[in-house]
Each structure stands twice: as C-alpha cells, then as structure tokens.
C-alpha cells in the first residue's frame, strides 16, 4: 500500500524542525492551534532525549507497559518556540 501524506500537511503548515533546549534533540513539530501539537521524532533524537533515557532504565512493566508519554523538556521547548514566534501557531 502506498503511504500517503496527511492532507493537513499539504494544505496547511508543514512540520517544522525544533531543538529541545535541554538535550538538543532535533525533532519536527507542528501546531495547528495552541492546544494541538504533532511531534515527529527520529531514532537519533530519541536516543538524545534525557527523560526518555531515564524512563527506559526505570521500565518496570507497570500497567502502561513502559509507555513513555512524552518529554516535558521538549514540551516546554515547544511552548517557548510558539510564544516567541519561532514556531507558527495559526490564530483562531
């Protein structure tokens, strides 16, 4: 099956590179609004992420089976970039 592109990425803003202020991991980010966020990681970025590394070493196989919900430092980096305009956020 052909892998197709998301129509929202074709017709709206594309994913945009962003560095995490804590670990420097380079990810791709998109915000369709203040509360929507897409993050595309690469294997390299994931290896760089400190919180991710800490989470992996403590993987106790709890109810969430080692699910990593996301990096809070990256989340902050995204908010900062959105606030200072480095990351475009469409107005309502």
């Amino acid at each position: 099956m052909t892998i197709r592109a998301d129509n929202r990425l074709l017709d709206g803003a594309p994913m945009q590179p962003l560095d995490c202020h804590q670990c420097g991991a380079e990810v791709e980010v998109r915000k369709a609004s203040w509360h929507q966020t897409s993050v595309q990681w690469s294997a390299q970025a994931l290896r760089a992420c400190l919180e991710r590394r800490a989470a992996r070493s403590g993987d106790g196989g709890g109810p969430d089976h080692g699910l990593f919900p996301g990096c809070t430092a990256l989340r902050e980096s995204i908010v900062r970039a959105a606030l200072d305009g480095a990351l475009a956020v469409p107005e309502d």
Partner: protein, 388 residues
C-alpha cells in the same frame, strides 16, 4: 443518479470535487501475534476450526497439554483435519487416519509400513498467556522476535480481578477499519455516545497508543439509581497489528473502577475479520467479587453494543485511502504509515513507519460543540417528557 456521481468523481480535477481513492486490500496478512481467544475453549479434547489469514486452520491440544495450530487440510488427500479426532499427541485425519503432530509432521499412518517423504504441513508458532491463545503470523516464515512479545496482563491471573468476559463477532470488512479507531476521536462521540475531553496518540516501534479521557453523557445514559458514572480514563496500546490492551478506569462519584479491556482481531481473509473483546475488572471494597463479576458482564455487553455501532458504519462505508481530515481529527495518515510496517518484509520496514510520532489533539472546539449538543438533546427530551 449514481452513474452521474461516478462521472463527476472521475472528473474531480476539473470540477473541484474531491474523489475517493482506494487501492485493493492487501493480499498478504499482517506479520505479528494474533489472539485466537480464550485458550480454555480449545482444551475440550476436540480439534477446532479457525478461519484465519485466508486459510483454514485447525487448533488442537496434544497430550502434553500444549495447543497447536496447523493448516487444516491434510496433505494426504486434502481432508479437513479439524473434523478429525485427537489421538494421544497427534491429530488423526477423519479420511484415512493419518496422524499429525503439533510440529506439522506426519508421525504415523496406521495402515502403512512407512510415512512417505515430505509428509509435513504448515505449523504455526503458538503462545499461551493470561488465559489467551496467540498465533504468530509471518508471511516470510521467521520466528517472532522477542521485542514484539505481548506484554503480560497482571490482573488476568490475579485473585482480586474477575475472569475474562470474552466476546467474538465476525465483521465483513477489511481489518484496517478497526485500526482507524485508534485515532478517530470524533467517532467516539457520534457513534459510541461517549464524550472525549482529552486525546493523544503515540506511535513508536510496533506499538500504537491512544490516551483518552472522557465524560459520561447524561443524554445517552440517563443517570439512574446507584453510583453515578462521571467519566473514564483510558490508555490503550496496540502491541503489533492486532492486539490492544486498554487500561481503562471508570470514575464514579464514590469510587474508581479499574478494568483491562482487550480489543483484538485476526483477519479471516482480506474482506472479513474476527473481532474479539475481553474485559476483566478489579474487585474493590465498594465492588467485591460478585459485584465485580456482574459489572464485568455489564461492561462486556456494553462493549458488544459498541462493536455493533462500529459495524453499522463499516457495513455501509467505502474503503478510503485519502480521507479528508480537519485539524480536529486524529493522525489517520500517520497511523496507517505505522500499520504498514506489518505488511512489508522486515527488510523493507522504513524508519518513518516505526519512528516515534506524537499527536495531541486540541479538544477545545469539539468539547464546546458537544456540550451544546448534549444540552440540546436534554432540553428536547425534557420538552417531550412534558408533552407526554
């Protein structure tokens, strides 16, 4: 009229009308562990027929207690082994009594001096865990790598949890439809009468996760007597192409109810699949053993209703490879990109299919719209009540 519509679709580029595109369903079946249901049902001393992966399979328990899965068609003259009988460690064919072992080899032909060469049929790798039987499907014929193992479900073997309440239904469509549910927040409101307020997806490696919190809907289930359900929080992950474990907590005004919900399927063929749901519920002070068992039954029925709601849509919809998404939809394309890893050879799995992707949905607008709709439904009902 129908013909007219079709013509217009073809001429989309000139008219601005969007066309629906769909390739044929894949001819191969997903690589991965597939759950065949409660393992206990296969332990009644008889072989069982399972139609899966475009084939007919037979499941039987050998003398050592292990469950085996073979191609159902006997390599001698093609009889159906699932209509045969278990004799000791082997499965005996109903036609001429050839004896087949769980490893797929013919062990004995009672009326022959010698078993001929190449008397070997396809045997699937099986795994029994937490009361469930799994079968490994791989079109390339490789064994399952350890990293795709199905995680243990703690409550399934614990005394303070109920037994499985398990349901199975045949659905007449390609199984991609059920996968799309992972990302489809809005349908939970419109089809399942729930009310999502938080929604996030994470895809990484062979795991696809949906995190969802929701409120209960007073317009769908009028609050009755007893504890009032306020909402639920759910963390649900597909571990591979077909087996989802959902850690699901229902919040009541006076307690939290912890449950684990399984949503699993195996393809029968390209155009149908067997859909399974299983649920276990944890006992609590408020809900001791019997109460929890009753609750599991009730939730099981409720989930079955939910399946039927999906089925009503699937039955009549068309396959669509180019869904037209708004920003309040989930990541359908990225989910399908993840799902594709199970349909290509391992060597052809591309980084983009397995690299981590996160999508947090903005529920502001949906929640606004749905609150209004719930209010309107309640007002309409109240008005109708006054008239009656």
């Amino acid at each position: 009229m129908k013909g007219w519509v079709n013509v217009t679709a073809v001429e989309a580029s000139t008219t601005g009308i969007r066309s629906i595109e769909a390739e044929a369903v894949p001819t191969r079946f997903a690589r991965g562990w597939h759950c065949l249901g409660l393992s206990g049902q296969f332990k009644d001393g008889r072989p069982h027929t399972v139609n899966a992966f475009g084939q007919k399979l037979v499941v039987f328990q050998s003398g050592d207690g292990g469950l085996n899965v073979l191609d159902a068609y006997c390599r001698h003259m093609g009889a159906d082994l699932s209509k045969g009988t278990i004799k000791g460690d082997e499965l005996a064919c109903p036609f001429h009594d050839w004896r087949w072992g769980g490893d797929g080899r013919c062990k004995k032909i009672p009326y022959a001096r010698r078993v001929p060469l190449r008397a070997r049929t396809a045997a699937w790798i099986t795994m029994e865990q937490d009361g469930l039987l799994f079968v490994w499907n791989d079109p390339e014929g490789n064994p399952p790598p350890p990293e795709v193992a199905i995680p243990r479900i703690e409550g399934a073997t614990r005394d303070d949890w109920t037994d499985w309440v398990w349901q199975e239904i045949v659905v007449e469509t390609n199984c991609r439809e059920v996968m799309d549910n992972v990302v489809d927040m809005a349908h939970f409101f419109y089809v399942h009468y729930s009310f999502p307020t938080y929604f996030k997806n994470i895809f990484e490696g062979h795991v696809a996760t949906q995190i969802m919190n929701g409120l209960s809907r007073p317009d769908a289930r009028p609050p009755g007597k007893g504890p009032r359900m306020l909402g639920n929080s759910s963390v649900a992950s597909y571990h591979g192409p077909s087996f989802m474990i959902d850690d699901l907590t229902y919040h009541y005004d006076d307690m939290d109810l912890k449950s684990v919900l399984i949503n699993a399927h195996y393809p029968i063929d390209g155009n149908s699949f067997m859909l399974h749901s299983g649920i276990i519920v944890q006992h609590s002070d408020k809900l001791p053993r019997e109460g929890a068992e009753a609750m599991a039954q009730k939730l099981g029925d409720f989930i079955l209703k939910g399946f039927d709601q999906d089925v009503q849509i699937w039955k009549h919809k068309t396959r669509i490879d180019n869904p037209l998404l708004c920003e309040e939809d989930g990541p359908v394309y990225q989910l399908r990109r993840w799902y594709e890893q199970f349909y290509v050879d391992v060597a052809d799995v591309r980084p983009e299919m397995v690299e981590r992707f996160e999508f947090e949905l903005d529920t502001t607008r949906p929640v606004e719209a749905w609150k209004q709709e719930v209010e309107a439904n309640l007002a309409r009902r109240a008005a109708a009540g006054r008239q009656a």
